[in-house]
């Protein structure tokens, strides 16, 4: 390949090479700053020309799979089309140049979008109030659990030290509970993918601060006993936390508020299709019912019918406080707002309908092609689980091998090895924006890989073959840490 294609930007750097147009031409003196506070050695950066830089990062980008280029059925992640209008409209100069501390009088455009987004999310979730400020799902979880804690504290109910978390939960759930100062207690799942209600009843009690639940669960099924679960937890004085990662599956069909949840977070970067950006940014607004309203994180936006304004600690003295310097990921919220306006109430219902249709169709195809399902007797929600335990045992080709081989066929792998309680699992989430032909092609390739695994397992275990690199040595990465490039 051409020179530089695998080089680091630093390896293209040369002393004395500069790109002067991107900074003022002048080098004024540094006056009035004590010597001892001045930097002595120039930073080691990349000294490259503008074209070298543009070419380097353009080429790098081509080494990524993405929604714009590939089917990306990563379960629990909702990799669907990110409308390009959300990008350009959220990046209009007026929005980009707004200082976060600009006065209300110079912020009515931005604030009106945020207020309307709050209102829409209230309706969609069935909650009484929404704060947009959490920067991602995990921070939304934090806000939610911190509110639960603030609620118990406000009632001087200080015996509630435990949070219940089903074993299928996402890792952020237990990690969040701990960040809020709670102990975590795992609740087992029954063989139908529902929470083991008996087990729940046994551990619930006056020490229970709350239950964190994902519904539909990470197992790709709808928790059917949700009303009973809510009853059990509420009866014990605990509150119900809804992890909104899977809201995509139920938009307009059933609302967390109506299911009995006290607080929820939404992943706007999933359900509301803001782009994932190779790892973020996201946005994790929280919605609450009446009794948690006083504790919502600030800032929020209020509207008096004429003027939009900020809600801060002043107006909400019981708030759990602030979670970021300003108002979280404002630009992501704008994208979600634009998406919501484009979809409207009509489009939102279609989201859950067609994502569910796609998942159940793939589930049906999986059965036809002889794959084992984690829950063959259940409906899929917007995602479902294939387990490759049999193939791993019989052929020695495991889920990771399937995943890597899929890349060779131009498909991103589904989520692998999560949820942890299903062995050799593939969590498949096609989303509503993929077409039938693509789903068919994916399942054909799955069957083909299985055949390959039968014919030549070593070949499959050596995959991928068509990517910029072959399979990477993760063990070495962690053992011989190389986190920062150093010149020789």
């Amino acid at each position: 390949m051409s020179s530089g294609i695998n080089m680091l930007i630093f390896e293209q750097s040369r002393k004395g090479r500069t790109n002067p147009s991107q900074a003022p031409f002048e080098r004024p003196e540094l006056t009035g700053i004590p010597e001892s506070l001045q930097r002595k050695k120039r930073v080691v950066m990349a000294e490259t020309s503008e074209m070298q830089t543009v070419r380097h990062y353009t080429r790098l980008s081509k080494k990524n799979f993405s929604i714009d280029t590939h089917f990306y059925p990563l379960g629990s992640c909702t990799m669907k089309y990110n409308p390009r209008a959300c990008n350009s409209l959220s990046m209009l100069p007026g929005f980009l140049s707004r200082h976060p501390y600009a006065p209300d009088s110079m912020s009515q455009g931005y604030l009106s979008c945020m207020y309307e987004l709050q209102e829409m999310l209230k309706d969609v979730t069935g909650m009484k109030e929404v704060s947009l400020t959490p920067a991602a799902g995990a921070q939304g979880e934090f806000a939610g659990m911190a509110m639960i804690r603030a609620y118990h504290d406000s009632r001087n109910d200080d015996q509630r030290t435990e949070v219940l978390v089903p074993d299928a939960a996402h890792g952020t759930n237990p990690a969040t509970a701990v960040m809020c100062g709670y102990k975590v207690r795992e609740i087992p799942t029954n063989d139908q993918g529902d929470v083991d209600l008996e087990a729940l009843k046994q551990v619930v009690g006056p020490q229970t601060a709350g239950l964190m639940l994902t519904n539909p669960s990470t197992l790709g099924v709808f928790e059917r006993q949700i009303e009973a679960i809510a009853g059990v937890v509420h009866e014990a004085g605990g509150l119900l936390y809804y992890d909104g990662a899977n809201l995509n599956a139920i938009l307009g069909k059933v609302r967390p508020g109506d299911m009995g949840f006290d607080v929820i977070h939404m992943n706007l970067h999933k359900t509301f299709s803001t782009p994932h950006g190779g790892g973020g940014p996201g946005a994790g607004p929280v919605g609450v019912n009446e009794r948690l309203k006083p504790f919502l994180p600030v800032p929020m936006v209020a509207y008096d019918g004429d003027h939009y304004s900020w809600v801060t600690e002043k107006e909400n003295p019981q708030t759990i406080g602030r979670l970021s310097g300003f108002m979280g990921n404002a630009g992501v919220l704008l994208r979600a707002y634009i998406y919501a306006r484009l979809l409207g109430r009509e489009g939102m219902v279609r989201v859950s309908e067609y994502s569910t249709l796609n998942a159940n169709y793939m589930l049906a195809l999986s059965k036809q092609k002889g794959f084992d399902l984690a829950f063959p007797d259940r409906r899929a929600t917007h995602e479902f689980i294939i387990t490759l335990k049999r193939q791993a045992k019989d052929l020695g080709v495991n889920t990771m091998d399937f995943a890597k081989r899929l890349l060779d066929y131009g498909f991103h792998a589904p989520t692998t090895y999560f949820p942890l309680l299903i062995p050799e699992c593939l969590l498949v989430e096609p989303t509503e924006t993929e077409d039938k032909e693509t789903l068919d092609a994916f399942m054909d390739v799955m069957a083909k890989i299985e055949q390959e695994a039968r014919d030549d397992p070593e070949y499959v275990k050596g995959a991928p073959y068509t990517q910029p690199v072959r399979r990477l040595d993760d063990v070495r990465a962690a053992r011989e840490l190389d986190l920062v490039w150093k010149s020789e």
């Binding site: 990062y57 782009p275 979280g328």
Partner: protein, 452 residues
């Protein structure tokens, strides 16, 4: 249907394959009593044309004032190339790089970012982002408490001149874990922490926070403070402005042995002010503490053929592996912002970053000279500054601000709500974006307003 490719015929085929009559049937596991009927609170669908017009109108409403405001978000030049590359679909619409082989673009970029950020801070390692500067400081505090093996304390010494929003954020995030803050007052003449005022017997504490520059824009004596904290077996967490680091002594070189952790707001490096987000928090630390660091970390390794490649590493720190024992609950971070920032830093290079920093400093000097030549305007603190300065007006600040807003000028940040003792004070900033004529415009309007 908008964004949905299904034709009626295909839907029919798919339902047949599934063996149900309608899409509605697929929701039959949801208890009927819970089913929701309609979303009246959501407006009806709109075409892209309609929404485009709406958003243009909304964006135009907010003006584009001449900005002399900083206070944590800074109006810097961003090369056009930065966002044109960043928004390429391959970066913009990829997920967290879980399948490393299909994500080498993002992964190599993050490795380059870690290198740049570690170099800028003169520390050994960097993570691949946290949410923003404020939450990064909160995470740094949690990390310091975990990492400091010499202290059992959960006490943190927190200067009062750390950004108020950062302090509020840290409080909201860490106090649930029993961590407490002890405020250190600033010296009311210099605006900085007076090292002489620090107790000789401070008791056990986990970490000292050192802002550089502090919220007032003045420069702390980071060397003395660092050595003092280390003497008392505490860790030092620097909260720094990354542009300033081009010309200021970097955290890794503070005092005898350097700060242990540095964190801050990455926004000045290629991220638009955009109402305060998405920005990103950066965090660097000494090698010894890397396993206590929160957030994603990318490592270089080799593939089956021995060819170098990049992958997420030290995942055992993270929630998806370690669950309740993770260093943090962070999962989705601010990846795309790092993409932008890395391209930004590569485009500027060391020389460019220095010139930006020097120009910010120089423009602020010019601004202050101009403003303080107006009757009734004076500098509050005597400390050296980087690119923000607190001035005191002899007139009521809210009124002055309103008058300047009317001229489409953002005159600065009124500090009074956060520091009641600093009445009628305004924190002003002039980045490299402000020209002499901008400064003149501000000064002449202020003069007029103050003269009334």
């Amino acid at each position: 249907m908008p964004y949905i490719p299904h034709t009626e015929e295909e839907v029919g085929q798919m339902l047949d394959t599934i063996g149900v009559d309608s899409i509605e049937d697929l929701f039959d596991e949801i208890p009927a009593s819970l089913r929701h009927k309609s979303l009246d609170g959501v407006p009806t669908q709109a075409t892209e044309m309609e929404v485009t017009r709406l958003m243009h109108e909304r964006a135009a409403l907010d003006g584009q004032p001449l900005c002399f405001m900083g206070a944590g978000a800074y109006d810097h030049h961003i090369p056009a190339a930065v966002w044109q590359i960043t928004t390429r679909g391959e970066f913009y619409t990829a997920y967290t790089p879980y399948q490393a082989e299909a994500s080498q673009g993002t992964l190599q970029l993050l490795y380059e970012y870690q290198t740049m950020m570690a170099n800028l801070n003169a520390l050994d390692v960097s993570n691949a982002s946290l949410y923003d500067g404020a939450s990064a400081m909160a995470e740094a505090i949690l990390m310091a408490v975990r990492a400091n093996r010499k202290s059992k304390s959960k006490r943190i010494l927190m200067p009062a001149n750390v950004h108020p929003a950062y302090r509020k954020t840290a409080e909201a995030i860490v106090t649930n874990q029993g961590i407490t803050f002890e405020l250190i007052d600033y010296d009311h003449t210099s605006g900085c922490i007076d090292p002489a005022s620090l107790p000789t017997e401070p008791g056990d504490f986990a970490a000292l926070i050192i802002p550089q520059p502090n919220f007032f824009g003045t420069l702390e004596d980071v060397n003395v403070l660092t050595d003092w904290a280390h003497k008392h077996k505490a860790l030092v967490v620097g909260v720094v402005n990354p542009i300033a680091l081009a010309v200021l002594v970097p955290p890794g070189e503070w005092g005898e042995s350097g700060a242990d952790i540095a964190c801050g707001e990455g926004q000045p490096l290629g991220i638009p002010m955009s109402s305060g987000g998405p920005f990103y928090g950066f965090m660097c630390c000494k090698q010894a503490y890397v396993r206590q660091m929160p957030g994603r970390i990318i490592g270089r390794t080799v593939d089956l053929d021995g060819k170098p490649g990049y992958t997420l590493t030290l995942q055992a720190r993270e929630q998806h592996i370690r669950r309740s024992k993770a260093t943090s609950n962070i999962c989705t971070n601010q990846g795309l912002m790092i993409t932008a920032s890395t391209i930004h830093m590569a485009l500027l290079g060391a020389e460019g970053l220095e010139r930006v920093a020097l120009s910010c400093h120089d423009n602020t000097r010019k601004l202050i000279e101009k403003l303080t030549s107006i009757d009734g305007v004076e500098v509050v603190f005597s400390g050296a500054y980087f690119h923000e300065v607190l001035i005191r007006l002899s007139a009521p600040v809210p009124e002055v601000m309103r008058a300047l807003y009317a001229q489409n000028i953002l005159p600065g940040y009124a500090i009074q709500d956060d520091y009641p003792e600093l009445e009628n004070c305004l924190l002003v900033c002039a980045t490299e974006m402000r020209t002499d004529s901008d400064i003149e415009t501000y000064a002449s309007h202020l003069q007029r307003v103050m003269g009334k």
